[in-house]
């Protein structure tokens, strides 16, 4: 393990995480919007479906890249220990806490909203998990950027 390897993989992992957050945000965001606004023009729906397809492809490619990078990291125990050091774990924990509170908060909001207007369980679950995951990923990117 070269010391440059640590920085290279650290940067690569950060970039992947950033792209992953954007990919998730756009992909699932469009999917939710498509489900929310069902009575819009067919052309708009088609455009959104096309964008949804493109972003889902980007997301899949990134997912494969992340798995490949992780495989390389797992193969080298010293590199893994250096990258997943205690500071990294601490930041990941902080991001998880942010995600937990957002998850709880959005669940509460969805409960209140469902009392006022009827919301499908499927859509409510989608929104809760979408925002929960997105906030965790975004918090992780922000914490690691510093």
């Amino acid at each position: 393990m070269e010391k440059n390897d640590i920085e290279y993989f650290d940067r690569a992992r950060f970039n992947m995480k950033l792209c992953y957050a954007i990919g998730w945000g756009l992909w699932m965001g469009l999917y939710i919007l498509n489900n929310l606004f069902t009575d819009v023009n067919d052309n708009i729906k088609l455009g959104m479906a096309a964008l949804f397809f493109v972003f889902s492809m980007i997301y899949c490619v990134l997912m494969i890249k992340i798995i490949r990078i992780n495989k390389k990291i797992q193969a080298d125990p010293d590199l893994k220990a250096a990258l997943d050091n205690e500071y990294y774990s601490w930041l990941e924990n902080k991001a998880m806490i942010v995600g937990f509170y957002v998850f709880g908060g959005v669940s509460g909001v969805m409960m209140v909203v469902s009392v006022i207007i009827p919301v499908s369980t499927y859509l409510a679950c989608l929104i809760i998990s979408y925002l929960g995951v997105l906030s965790t990923l975004t918090a992780s990117v922000i914490f690691h950027r510093k």
Partner: protein, 70 residues
Amino acid sequence: MRMEKEELTNQIKVQRAILNITQEDLAGEIGVTRKTINTIENGKYIPSTILAIKLARFFKVPVEELFTLK
């Protein structure tokens, strides 16, 4: 009883200057990322006992000399 705010200061930057090594060099020697060394050096992150001992061993100084509680 009024608790006074305690602050942990460190001499990593000074020790690095003595040895004339960069944060990246130190990170490589200790087996962490440069960001980790940077945040410890700036007092943004308090390292675990294990990491503190590793750093002290590398600089060949006692832990109390490297990290001071004020």
